[in-house]
Symmetry: C2
Subunit: 116 residues, 2 copies
């Protein structure tokens, strides 16, 4: 089975210092052990129409759905969520088991030859 | 530098056979070399309000932004996009260099001790 992922796509309110929010999210991911990995990105270039005004995506990975549930119920997450909800203009959250349809392959230079 | 990622969050039209679309996307990711990895998921459980009606997310990784640009311009991608645009009720696309804020760490059992 693949990982369980928590995806947040957000547009922040104009007056918000986004760096502070992201710092808080990084701390949260670091402090809660069940968060397996955390990555984020800011889209600065796509057409506004394509991104519907959303600017940031945040993606956390968990080994299992239970690990995600543990994260959700963690007091630090509950506290952060309350803050987060005040700084976003709009948000979409999706939680799902991932299907890894094209796993990262080793480069052709280093790949072992396939056994015949 | 991290990877460059292409995120698609979609809600499909009711009559669409989503499996066929996903199969097409998997083929696309397999056939175009610059796609480093491809994963997707379907959210079946979150509150409709939180996911705003969106059901699927698709995430492709590229080594560089140039690899992503190559993918975008590939005839197979152009063809697939034309089809894809007819089957979605709504969609959000975000493209961004990723910041890996919490990399996957080795388990504590196998981790090397940090040099003092």
């Amino acid at each position: 089975m693949g990982e369980f992922k928590h995806l947040v796509v957000a547009k922040f309110k104009d007056e918000v210092v986004v760096e502070d929010i992201i710092k808080g999210m990084q701390d949260l991911a670091s402090e809660i052990d069940t968060v397996k990995s955390f990555e984020w990105g800011q889209d600065l270039e796509s057409h506004e129409m394509l991104r519907q005004g959303f600017t940031h995506s945040f993606l956390m990975a968990f080994n299992t759905k239970e690990d995600y549930t543990t994260f959700l119920a963690h007091p630090k997450h509950v506290e952060f969520s309350a803050t987060f909800s005040t700084v976003i203009e709009k948000v979409i959250l999706l939680d799902f088991p991932t299907v890894l349809a094209k796993p990262i392959k080793p480069s052709s230079e280093t790949a072992e030859p396939t056994a015949a």
